[in-house]
Assembly symmetry: C2
Homo-oligomer: 358 residues x 2
Amino acid sequence: MKGTLNIDGFWAVIPAGGAGTRLWPLSRAGAPKFLLDLTGSGRTLLQQTLDRLAPLVGDRALVVTGARHRDAVCGQLDLPAAQVVGEPSPRDSMAAIGMAAAMLERDDADAILGSFAADHVITDEDAFRACITEAVAVADTGVIVTLGIQPTGPSTAFGYLRLGDPVGGFATARAVRSFTEKPDAATAAEYLATGEYRWNGGMFVTRAAVLLDELAREHPDLAAGLRAIAADPAEMAARWPALTKIAIDHAVAEPAAARGMVATVPGSFGWDDVGDFASLGALLPGDGVKVLGDRDRVLALDSTGLVATAGRTVAVVGLDDVVVVDTGDALLVTDRAHAQQVKAVVDALRQRGADHLL
Amino acid sequence: MKGTLNIDGFWAVIPAGGAGTRLWPLSRAGAPKFLLDLTGSGRTLLQQTLDRLAPLVGDRALVVTGARHRDAVCGQLDLPAAQVVGEPSPRDSMAAIGMAAAMLERDDADAILGSFAADHVITDEDAFRACITEAVAVADTGVIVTLGIQPTGPSTAFGYLRLGDPVGGFATARAVRSFTEKPDAATAAEYLATGEYRWNGGMFVTRAAVLLDELAREHPDLAAGLRAIAADPAEMAARWPALTKIAIDHAVAEPAAARGMVATVPGSFGWDDVGDFASLGALLPGDGVKVLGDRDRVLALDSTGLVATAGRTVAVVGLDDVVVVDTGDALLVTDRAHAQQVKAVVDALRQRGADHLL
């Protein structure tokens, strides 16, 4: 398959960050979500991310990750070390993706990049790649393209984008009229009823130079800093800490959309950001109690939910939608309705000074 | 305190058996309930049983336990080895208590015994000992005396006894008209409404010779077998396996009550048989989530219930009446309403051949 869809000059940029605190105790500061095999596939989320992009990019991929995770990332991927960038400190998504963009622009003024988070799950990979293929062609016209994910419900966990006119000459591409922050439930339901809104999954396809030029309009110091580091990597230590901390949506996507510079390729490819154990449970196969780990170790009587075992026998009796996550040093017990509140456990442990468990 | 209430010629008999399967995975075949410190007191249930009787009996106690647990029992108690009897196989409560009775009768024809299970909890020990003291005096008249526990609710988990006329010359003793098996909830409620019923906690006080003579009426072979083993312990191996397997209630208490030979001393001393995790949770101090083990290891957010930790950090989020029991090789998660169904886990593990977990 590799090569058949290979798009010359197209690079995958994979920001690999985020602690995934709502997936504690599986996800830890030292072993974050993207480094884990959360779906029992034998591949980590990071590996799966590159696996599904490889037919389009071969080994043209740049991973941008925290310096402390760089060795682990290199160990999981078969990429040249120069293609794994270690950030000295977290400076949010614009700096991470912009750094990769500046490196690509430096080597190829026409390079097109697609940025894809390292910790999302896609179930229909063919549809995903078809969507990207059209997005690359649209991006080649000089606009910024975002993948517009078909909502599966009125989620309040994601931002939305509002569709505009069709983009001439393409099968499905539409202009993006605006981006909106995470809405409340009533607003989200209104969005869905119109049929004119898509989820913003934060996946952008654009020429590297276009991204940086757009960034330069609103945040010239940030664009200049990134280009300076790309020109001379020795500048990293001095310049990186001073870079503006801002998300790519705010820094570029929203202002560019206001100027008619953003398009979207709508797609329906089973996207999930695996934001919490409710999401993870829904992704795992099986009925009743879903199991992550050795199914033979789990004994579920009259129960539904999710059990992750690190090897011990886990018995669950008479509980619905239960979430049991068993690791070597910590155990979480909650239910699907409280999946978002797992972050509060991590906060409480931090307050207690239990850093070894974070 | 020891000695002040010491009753000459009165012996404690402690049958230490039962696997406590509804307390799995804390209680195991190899480490049953009575060998465990289930209340966080620093003393096991067996030790607590003897502790609370010591003011009455000093070291006049006989423990009857399975041969495989005899070493553990001897290790926990400061008793002469001859006072810990190992049963070659389980033959139910009549054989266990009857064996002790035969040994006591052999050495002292007037010996009075009180039998008390090794795995119950008593909260008001002074009231308990006062009840026993009267029971010994009543037993000295030649009847069998059972402690009649004041019900705290219409439990369907215990047998009941029906009160008869006061026994002349004693403060609170009453005749026992009959014993009844575990009733259904409606019947139990009717019993309570009359005020004439007490729980049968299986605690009997009687002259050893009276118990065996009563037994000899209904089960002469069993009484003869026990007396033969007491007379010559070398007979144990040959005779024990042939002893009738029967509970003391059926073998002696019920037929003796029908003949007017049973009395009771009603008492209210906070008795609990710690039959399941619902019982155990109610016994532990504290509000919200009760903890067995290191409280600092348990982080409970917006939850109630019971958590037992063997050392790992346990976080519980948003669950009511949850039961989490964490041990080295097995973990149980259920809730109070399903506490009785924990036995089904043990059954399922046995069917799977996971004997190392039982």
